[in-house]
């Protein structure tokens, strides 16, 4: 959380540094996005799910505090089913026990749009924030205590470009890097422990449809 707090503070500093002359009325937009994520715990996700990557879908709201500065609240979801495994001498044995992993981040971000003095079709933006990452792991069949439902705090940085496609709509593509330290690998029956991978974060590329002004 210390690092997350620092990122937050930096973003707030960025916001407060905006000249008052640049500030306009508060605006609100909604968005939906879809993307591809690559988890930092590459080996662990690959062992259980067959791949460290997967699709992510989400949405949220964004509030424009000034012409350039915005804050957003976003939720997304990754869900994929693989199999529980046993690893011996780097060989992964699938165990025919379905294992479903779901990661649901709830992220608060703040950012800055680099609009420039003249109107442009492509508007770069960058930001960061903190998040709460809900991890669930369920297998079938299971008994009470087998499944995992935990929430971990983390932080993220993002950068992207946005373009208006209608008066009330826009599109954006961005990349996000997140870190959720100490969120994996505590259990001795986890493959993350075996691979010494403890971070639920990762890198994500996503496309976003924005509605609103």
């Amino acid at each position: 959380m210390t690092r997350a707090t620092l990122v937050c503070a930096a973003v707030l500093l960025l916001v407060s540094a905006v000249p008052s002359s640049a500030q306009n009325a508060v605006t609100m937009r909604g968005f939906a996005d879809a993307g591809l994520t690559v988890f930092t715990a590459t080996q662990s996700f690959k062992a259980v799910l067959g791949s460290p990557t997967g699709a992510v879908f989400g949405g949220g709201v964004e509030v424009g505090l000034t012409r350039n500065v915005f804050v957003s609240l976003a939720a997304s979801r990754f869900k994929k089913t693989g199999q529980r495994v046993f690893v011996f001498q780097n060989q992964v044995f699938k165990l025919n026990v379905d294992d479903t992993i779901a990661v649901t981040p709830l992220q608060v971000s703040a950012g800055y749009r680099f609009r420039g003095r003249r109107p442009r079709r492509i508007i770069p933006y960058a930001g960061g924030g903190i998040g709460w990452y809900r991890l669930t792991e369920t297998s079938e069949p299971s008994t009470p205590g087998d499944d995992t439902k935990t929430t971990h705090a983390g932080f993220h940085l993002l950068a992207g470009i946005e373009t208006p496609i209608r008066r009330w709509a826009g599109a954006a593509v961005d990349a996000q890097w997140s870190s959720v330290p100490n969120s994996l690998g505590e259990s001795t029956t986890s493959v993350a422990s075996l691979y010494d991978e403890h971070n639920l974060g990762g890198f994500m590329l996503r496309a976003r449809i924005i509605v609103g002004r």
Binding site: S44, F45, V48, F86, Q89, V97, T150, T189, V191
Partner: protein
């Protein structure tokens, strides 16, 4: 069926050639006069029997040296690859060898020496020759079986290792997994053996008695009702009688096979660990009745080694050895077990029942730590403590329920179906009550020993193999990683890595938990 005359003649010739070929490949020392008998008789659970005396040793034909029994008149030797025959003959001549034979399913030779010579000394002499990889006396292997004391009724062993939840994950494996039971045979089929039973001398308590000849008798055999089923048994082989009829003349192997794969959910009797597997009965140890009836071979290191090779060569993926011995090391067995694991078969071996008899090192169990994919199994009782008899040492890798009837009484043993011993051990109370045996009458018996704990691990291995862990080394690792630690924290000499935990191993690792 309609056949042309020539086709019929051809068929008859083909069959005749086939029969001759079969007889050539497997010499027969006995003949069964019928394959059709009445089904086995089930006399129910024997939980109120009076305490039974220890079962007598199987043979009085061996000498005693270094505390272990071995055969007179021969030794086993393996020459280094490429050693010329002439050189081999020269070397064995130094120990007075008369003949040398290469048995089937073996990469070693059996060398005949003078009956009065000491096989251990001869083997030691031969072992010093530069072209000899190893030479050893033919030590007798015996079942890891602690005789029955009275009383009991339930299979507490499965709840102790949480098998109900394990079966949720893997309900008894499938027939694609073949588990070889290298033991006293298995009650796997019906038959009637006609045999002349001569007079013999043997132990009754602490004395030796003469048992009268019984003349020509018909001895009935039946398949164990709770074990046998369609296509249940595969590639049976008897290395004691050197034929393809490994019928159990003792009951030990049948009990062991039951723990591995007793039919389950059949509204009859008891359950087994991996109840859908196919069983390969491989007879490698002789019982009292084998000796009385004049079996040509005995259960020695070399016979067991051949059995291991046979089982692996015929498709067994798990080998159960509820057998073993103390005494000098057994390189023959070590090599056989390495052969098994290197060919994809997992080997489960009894750690031994001699804790209170000086706790000597047990073979082949003691080889387990050095061979990935082979484990030595100790026994615990219903109280999850090491059973009083269970041998200890650095080679004990896992424990499983084997029963402790000293603490819990008869029902603290492991319950399985086997023969009703009242109809088998007719010699046990002396000549007055001695008569022909019947191997078609069954009951549910509580037995204890590392013989009984070992098949839990074999059944467990079959489940893991079915679940997807195909490498013997990985199976062992999965068992050890998820074992429930007992005794001193960490690996110790009483419990090894701990009590097997089939459910946890079958479930394996998740991403986070």
């Amino acid at each position: 069926m309609f056949l042309s005359k020539s086709a019929g003649v051809l068929t008859v010739l083909t069959l005749a050639v086939g029969i001759v070929a079969a007889q050539d490949s497997i010499p027969r020392y006995r003949t069964f006069i019928s394959d059709t008998t009445l089904p086995g008789i089930d006399t129910g659970i024997r939980n109120n029997d009076a305490p039974r005396p220890p079962r007598p040793s199987a043979s009085d034909l061996v000498s005693r040296s270094s505390g272990e029994r071995y055969l007179r008149g021969s030794i086993a030797v393996k020459f280094r690859p490429g050693t010329a025959s002439a050189s081999q003959r020269l070397m064995v001549a130094r120990v007075g060898a008369t003949t040398m034979e290469a048995p089937s399913y073996a990469d070693f030779q059996i060398v005949t020496i003078d009956a009065q010579a000491d096989p251990e000394a001869a083997a030691a002499t031969l072992a010093q020759q530069p072209d000899v990889e190893f030479a050893q006396a033919r030590y007798r292997i015996h079942p890891m079986f602690v005789p029955n004391d009275p009383l009991y009724s339930q299979q507490w062993n499965y709840t102790t290792i949480d098998m109900e939840h394990a079966w949720d994950l893997n309900p008894g494996a499938t027939p694609s997994i073949v588990v070889a039971v290298l033991d006293s045979g298995v009650a796997y089929r019906n038959a009637v053996l006609r045999r002349n039973v001569p007079s013999w001398r043997g132990p009754v308590g602490f004395t030796i008695a003469t048992f009268p000849a019984l003349g020509v008798v018909d001895i009935p055999f039946a398949a164990a009702p709770d074990l046998a089923g369609p296509n249940r048994f595969v590639a049976p082989r008897d290395f004691i009688w050197d034929d393809a009829d490994p019928l159990d003349l003792d009951g030990h192997g049948t009990h062991v096979a039951g723990t591995i794969g007793q039919l389950t959910n059949n509204s009859l009797g008891v359950a087994g660990m991996a109840f859908n597997v196919r069983i390969m009965p491989v007879k490698v140890i002789d019982s009292m009745w084998d000796d009385i009836l004049g079996s040509p071979f005995e259960g020695t290191d070399d016979v067991v080694a051949r059995g291991v090779h046979y089982a692996v060569d015929n498709g067994a993926k798990v080998l159960n050895l509820s057998i073993g011995r103390a005494g000098p090391p057994a390189p023959l067995l070590q090599e056989a077990i390495v052969y098994a694991t290197s060919h994809g078969a997992f080997v489960s071996m009894a750690a031994g029942n001699d804790f209170e008899d000086g706790n000597p090192t047990q073979w082949p169990a003691a080889y387990a730590p050095s061979i990935q994919g082979a484990v030595a199994v100790g026994a615990i009782g219903r109280d999850r403590q090491r059973a009083y008899y269970s041998s200890t040492g650095p080679y004990v890798e896992l424990v499983a329920p084997g029963g402790n009837q000293r603490i819990g009484g008869t029902t603290a043993g492991i319950l399985q179906q086997t023969y009703d011993f009242a109809f088998v051990d007719t010699f046990i109370f002396g000549p007055a009550r001695y008569g022909p045996p019947r191997f078609d009458i069954f009951s549910y018996q509580f037995l204890q020993g590392t013989s009984m704990s070992t098949p839990h691990v074999s059944g467990f291995a079959a489940l893991l193999m079915q679940q997807g862990i195909t490498s013997p080394g990985a199976i062992e690792a999965a068992m050890e990683q998820f074992a429930t630690d007992l005794g001193a924290p960490g690996v110790d000499q009483q419990y090894g890595y701990g009590l097997i935990n089939p459910r946890a191993s079958l479930r394996g690792l998740g991403l986070a938990k």
